[in-house]
């Protein structure tokens, strides 16, 4: 496939810079080539070189992804075959004891694949990424939300290794200590709950739960929604009809209802929540991708690729999916809060593993002490509220940044 995507078509095919990569053209080699190319004539472009460089950048991310996946599989194999059942996966006495659960394996897998994919998208079109970032940066509330979410994510990821499991800190002698804002001491900045567990530790462990649910379920939903949506749009006819009728059906079976039913049949499990939200929560993304892909399908580069002999699957994989990635990322950001809130609601109602410190569970536990110890429910509630709101702010700002009609 030589010269399948002329630079002239680069209108909206890169994702936003949703991280710190505020890197203008300076270091991207392929970008230098491209800005040269626009100055030179079309015939003068050395497409072999452009392809080779772009290919190299993609290969690097793919290689890193593959390497990390192999490492992960090796670890999983070690846990499954070498470590005895019931023994912790990592056990260095005094330093770290960690029994990796099913949900955490899934989360690790999603992190590896997700980081590699998003990184690849961002570096593929650094110029577009920088432009979206400039648009995004205008919305100050969204930028603040982004930092907040990155902080929550980082603390949720490493926090449980730094701070102790709340259940190891049970001490009825220090129950109901006030938080600092209510005149408490700095020993327990957010106060303690009825069993003397510091709320900070409960909040940190809750961040982990919310992030695992939000990221993993959304990743599954995005993958399914993108595949189904782009396949339906591109193949049309009966394929489209059958897939979209299925989407209709899935929409009539609200995923929350399905979750309650499944939790009734199989008992509380975080893995079940994550997998079901991912597997049955993608109909919105699927519809969106389909309609976007239908619009893209009319674009010249799809005809050009087909004329150059690309197969239908190649066109979907290399032209349709990358070009709807902006829409997908926005939809994903707006899907996360729904999943996070759903999990917290289930936990509040009591449908959760006893060893999962969901914010919803802490809020439920503090309900009875509201009049005397308002902070037990309020502190995790504020964190849940801010996290959900931050996702909505970021998602809306991404939507605005990538809407071509909003260009000023």
């Amino acid at each position: 496939m030589t010269g399948n995507t002329p630079p002239a078509n680069d209108t909206s095919d890169a994702p936003p810079a949703n991280g710190t990569s505020d890197a203008p053209p300076a270091n991207g080699t392929s970008d230098e080539t491209r800005s040269d190319a626009t100055r030179r004539t079309f015939e003068g472009i050395d497409w072999e070189r452009v392809d080779a460089e772009r290919g190299l950048a993609i290969t690097r991310w793919a290689a890193a992804e593959a390497l990390a996946l192999v490492g992960l599989v090796a670890l999983l194999g070690y846990d499954a075959l070498v470590v005895a059942d019931g023994e912790p996966t990592v056990d260095v006495p005094g330093v770290l004891t960690w029994d990796v659960t099913g949900v955490q394996w899934l989360f690790a897998l999603v992190l590896v694949v997700g980081v590699a994919r998003v990184g690849r998208l961002l570096t593929r079109r650094p110029r577009m990424a920088a432009r979206y970032w400039r648009q995004f940066r205008r919305n100050r509330a969204a930028v603040a939300s982004l930092w907040f979410l990155l902080a929550v994510f980082a603390v949720g990821l490493v926090g449980p290794l730094v701070w102790k499991n709340p259940n190891e800190l049970l001490d009825f002698g220090r129950a109901y200590r006030k938080p600092v804002v209510a005149g408490g001491s700095w020993t327990y900045p957010l106060g303690t709950d009825a069993q003397g567990r510091p709320l900070w530790n409960l909040v940190v462990y809750g961040m982990r739960v919310s992030m695992v649910v939000g990221v993993t379920a959304t990743f599954i939903a995005v993958t399914l929604g993108t595949v189904v949506g782009s396949v339906a749009a591109h193949f049309g006819g009966y394929v489209d009809e059958v897939l979209m009728r299925y989407v209709d059906l899935q929409q009539t079976f609200p995923v929350f209802v399905l979750l309650l039913f499944a939790l009734y049949l199989y008992g509380p499990s975080l893995l079940l929540v994550v997998v079901l939200y991912g597997a049955f929560g993608w109909e919105g993304i699927g519809r969106l991708v389909r309609s976007e892909a239908l619009q893209r399908g009319e674009a010249g580069y799809v005809d050009a690729a087909a004329a150059a002999g690309a197969s239908r699957w190649w066109v979907v994989r290399h032209h349709v999916i990358p070009n709807v990635s902006g829409t997908v990322i926005t939809a994903a950001t707006l899907a996360v809060p729904t999943f996070v809130l759903g999990e917290a609601t289930l936990a509040f109602l009591g449908f959760t593993d006893p060893d999962v410190f969901s914010w919803g569970r802490t809020i439920a536990a503090g309900r009875g002490d509201l009049a005397t110890a308002w902070w037990v429910s309020t502190v995790p509630g504020v964190f849940l509220f801010l996290t959900v709101m931050a996702f909505f702010f970021v998602g809306d700002a991404l939507n605005d940044a990538m809407d071509p009609r909003r260009e000023r």
């Binding site: 209709d248 079976f253 929350f256 209802v257 309650l260 809020i363 308002w374």
Partner: protein, 336 residues
């Protein structure tokens, strides 16, 4: 394709969808262990009896040991003939348990629904027409707060503020006691009384908040799509008033996608919301019944209440498909 044929096709699809949903529920139920049988086995083991026998007896008593296709036919027949069996947790027929509780749910769910449509659409359209004004910014911020606040947390904060603090707080010498609403529902109060209205204020508020906010967001976004459309400009050029443009041109077209969202919203927000609200305010409605059924391993009742929102969704989608062609003359029947 004419309107009649289109309507017939949509009705047929609704029937097929219902059948698929019921069948899928059966398959799920058939593939998984029965929680009630597990409880029976555990009880037998505790009494020193054989757990296997207890389990078999439990399954045989409910006809669950018969071949799958017999069970399936039986299941489908009983679902569609409204023969919904006996509820273990309520100790009465499922029908009666439902009959006693739906009234309590409707009392606050219908007002919440009405508020979210009227206020949500109203504010959404108003802010869309007055984009970038102070009212727009305030409205948008309120909408963000509304969709982000977890309803269960909002409910307990409201209980704290209204039920505890307002009891003896005063502002400028005025007691806030009139604003202190009942925080627990008393089912013995008659339906059409002031006392009943007062005790429904908090549940309605909690349930309505999220849906008002999301209807606001959606209607604003949809209306913004059309305020600059050609047909709106034409209407304005012909001298139509602002109100007429808003109601007859913008809102009429925007209602098509909005009605889709409304059906989905009604279900997810109201279903999930009613479980939470009824749990917190102790309302003996459908949500409470569902939770009791789950906790009491009452498969029969869980099943019926699970199918409830599904059937409502299918009917809602059907109505909305029919409303489509009436609301937006640009949609032609051959499309779907």
């Amino acid at each position: 394709m004419g309107l009649k044929r289109y309507a017939a096709r949509r009705v047929a699809w609704a029937a097929v969808a219902t059948w698929i949903a019921v069948s899928a529920t059966f398959v799920l139920l058939w593939l998984s262990p029965d929680p009630g049988a597990d409880v029976a086995a555990a009880e037998a083991a505790a009494q020193g009896l054989s757990p296997e026998q207890a389990q078999e007896r439990y399954l045989a008593a409910r006809g669950l040991d018969r071949p799958a296709h017999v069970q399936y036919l039986d299941f489908v027949t009983s679902v569609f003939t409204l023969d919904w069996g006996w509820s273990v947790s309520q100790n009465e027929p499922v029908m009666e348990a439902l009959g006693e509780s739906w009234g309590h749910t409707v009392q606050y769910a219908v007002p919440a629904m009405a508020v979210s449509v009227v206020v949500g659409y109203g504010v959404g359209l108003y802010t869309a027409v007055n984009q970038h004004t102070a009212a727009d910014y305030v409205g948008s911020f309120v909408a963000y707060v509304g969709i982000s606040i977890p309803n269960f947390w909002f409910a307990i904060v409201l209980i704290l503020v209204s039920g505890v603090w307002f009891q003896d707080a005063t502002v400028l010498g005025l007691s806030l006691e009139p604003l202190s609403f009942r925080t627990f529902y008393d089912p013995s109060i008659d339906t059409f009384t002031v006392a009943n209205a007062r005790q429904l204020v908090l549940p309605t508020t909690v349930l309505a908040t999220a849906s008002v906010a999301s209807q606001m967001r959606y209607s604003r976004a949809e209306a913004l799509e059309y305020v600059a459309a050609d047909f709106v400009r034409t209407a304005r050029a012909k001298g139509a008033s602002g109100w007429r443009i808003l109601t007859r041109h913008v809102f009429r077209v925007a209602l098509v996608p909005l009605s889709t969202i409304l059906v989905v919203q009604v279900l997810t927000v109201l279903f999930a919301g009613s479980i939470v609200v009824e749990q917190i305010f102790a309302i003996p409605g459908l949500g409470r019944l569902y939770l009791d059924a789950i906790r009491g391993n009452d498969t029969q009742l869980v099943l019926v209440i699970t199918l409830f929102p599904v059937v409502i969704a299918i009917l809602g989608n059907l109505l909305q498909d029919l409303a489509y062609v009436i609301l937006d003359p640009r949609i032609d029947y051959g499309d779907r």
